[in-house]
């Protein structure tokens, strides 16, 4: 079964990348000391570097990527367009906006859960809005443009908040959401995000078969026995939860949700149903590798993961758009 082999291969590569993320960094550690840290036999300093700094950071990159990859694959299946993705459709931007509003008004002081929950609420609001628009708008391209509009609007409001930021600390916090980063993430942050990311990917996994039949178009899919309303709700809920929690954890990281499904699709015979899991695994892997690169690059300020993802992903987005052969 090629899909299974693909998933296992990607999973193995992901585990290797997580291992590499624990090895590499500004403090040189060899494999022996990293292994010792995992086994509880390392020095306190080594244990802190590996278990409290590098591992949660790498896991955060993987989880955020997996959430975006699965959401991208599912949104592309639902909207039958390879350019659909949480970033392009404004889902990530709306989630960041809600998180930024929570930071701006100091709501984050109420508890660590406030920012992730705000991000999830923003993502769900955006996906629900898109799904409602999809009921009225027949053209997928128009729908994507609605998403682009949503994205621009969220970015505009965010710029306004930055403009009006009451103090430099709030400003720095908000810029973090804007740029996207997994630096300084702890297991506590992961603990808040993982249940939502897990639930979101789980919902998308359960609803993946309906994405396959949508290959035929909505009319034929409905005729072939798909409950369209339920399918839309499933993807809205799954992508909203996963993307929102991903933004809550790592800020807005664009394009990985486009690139991963695009690379995976030819390997699963272009079946959207079989793209969800490998897209999640590949996007997780890509972000772990990108985050290693961010940490190793000798720049004065550490580059933000979202910046690197956009620098690599945006040209790929344009390339996919240009090369797209449409069958419609």
């Amino acid at each position: 079964m090629p899909a299974l082999a693909l998933n296992l291969g990607l999973l193995a590569a992901g585990v290797l990348a997580l291992g590499a993320a624990c090895l590499l960094g500004s403090t040189p550690l060899d494999a022996h000391r990293v292994l010792a840290a995992f086994l509880g036999q390392a020095s306190v300093a080594d244990a802190i570097v590996v278990l409290e700094i590098r591992l949660p950071r790498a896991l955060a990159a993987f989880a955020a990527g997996a959430a975006l990859g699965a959401s991208g694959a599912a949104l592309q299946g639902l909207l039958r367009n390879p350019l659909a993705e949480p970033g392009v459709l404004g889902v990530s931007a709306t989630a960041s906006l809600f998180a930024t509003v929570a930071l701006y008004y100091g709501l984050a002081a109420a508890g660590a859960f406030v920012v992730p929950v705000a991000a999830i609420a923003g993502a769900l609001a955006a996906t629900a809005l898109l799904a409602l628009a999809a009921l009225r708008i027949r053209s997928i391209v128009t729908l994507i443009l609605v998403g682009v509009g949503l994205s621009s609007f969220a970015a505009a409001v965010m710029s306004l908040l930055l403009n009006l930021a009451p103090n430099p600390f709030t400003l720095a916090d908000m810029i973090n959401w804007l740029l996207g980063s997994v630096a300084n993430r702890s297991f506590d942050d992961l603990g808040l995000a993982l249940p939502f990311i897990g639930a979101g990917i789980g919902v998308l996994y359960v609803g993946r078969r309906g994405l396959g039949i949508l290959t035929l178009g909505e009319e034929a899919a409905a005729g072939a026995g798909l409950d369209l309303a339920r399918q839309r709700l499933t993807v809205v809920l799954g992508a909203g939860l996963a993307t929102g929690a991903s933004v809550g954890l790592a800020g807005a990281i664009g394009f990985v949700g486009i690139v991963a499904p695009h690379l995976v699709r030819p390997l699963v015979a272009h079946d959207p149903a079989q793209s969800v899991v490998p897209s999640a695994l590949l996007a997780g892997l890509v972000l772990v590798l990108a985050d290693i690169a961010v940490r190793l690059l000798p720049t004065t300020n550490e580059l933000k993961l979202g910046v690197v993802a956009a620098l690599l992903g945006a040209p790929v987005f344009a390339w996919i758009a240009v090369r797209r052969r449409t069958l419609e």
Binding site: L216, R265, H270, R325
Partner: protein, 257 residues
């Protein structure tokens, strides 16, 4: 035998009645062709029969049960529907598209049970698609794609088939091939109701013709009984001659009325 029946069906969109008071039925072993000018309400009638839209008046029943009361998958296991617009979002291999016909049985291209695989193989053979089975659909011609869609509908092994212009935009040879596939499905006990534009072809392959104009059914019966120059003139606003010949019915459109 499965019977799909519309009685007094009216479908309104805004101020306009797309279909008004239409009563029509299709059952196993018969091929019904629905004809009429553009905008006559053929597609809307078909969608109402398929249970995809709720009529504003009248009923659509499948073996006496309201078709909209059935769950989507349960309905799709008994009635296959082939819409007019058939966009394929991804360049999937032919076999996978045909396998999507098994959706209502809980199958998917990546996981087909023994019965699903048998139904897919049979549909591929019936439509002569075996040599193309692994080709991506974006490399096929229009005629080949049309056969893939028919195969997808046949793979569902439903008692009834509703198809909206399955032979439109095909060259004569492919029209006959696709029509032949639908005819064979009917000979094997299936019931088909298909929207067509070619009156002669419809008269040749269908057991019954149903003519729609402005949303209302104006004639329903075997071609030999109902197809006259007067009917063609009334339905299409064209001047025509209809001659019955040994090899079929000859319809000649002579001009606009």
């Amino acid at each position: 035998m499965t019977v799909l029946r519309a009685e007094g069906v009216t479908v309104v969109a805004g101020q306009k009645a797309l279909v008004r008071g239409a009563s029509v039925s299709v059952s196993g072993g018969e091929l019904v062709a629905v004809l009429g000018p553009n905008g006559a309400g053929k597609t809307t009638l078909l969608r109402a029969l398929a249970g995809l839209i709720a009529p504003d008046a009248g009923t659509v029943t499948l073996d006496g049960m309201p078709v909209r009361a059935l769950r989507a998958a349960a309905r799709a296991r008994r009635v296959a529907y082939l819409p007019q617009e058939r966009p394929l979002a991804w360049p999937s291999p032919v076999r996978d598209v045909v396998a999507l016909g098994r959706y209502a049985y809980g199958a998917a291209p990546g996981r087909l049970g023994a019965e699903d695989a048998a139904a897919v193989a049979e549909a591929i053979d019936a439509c002569d698609l075996a040599p193309l089975a692994h080709r991506p659909t974006d490399t096929l011609s229009g005629g080949e794609i049309a056969r893939v869609h028919i195969a997808r509908a046949l793979a569902a092994r439903t008692a009834l088939l509703l198809a909206d212009e399955p032979v439109a935009a095909l060259d004569p040879r492919h029209q006959l091939r696709v029509a032949g596939q639908i005819r064979r499905y009917v000979e094997a006990g299936g019931g088909a109701l298909i929207v067509m534009h070619d009156i002669e072809l419809a008269a040749r392959i269908a057991d019954r013709l149903v003519f729609l104009r402005n949303g209302a059914i104006v004639a329903d019966g075997p071609a030999a009984n109902i197809l006259t120059a007067d009917l063609v003139a009334r339905v299409y606003d064209v001047c025509a001659t209809v001659t019955v010949e040994s090899r079929g019915i000859d319809v000649r459109i002579e001009g606009v009325l």
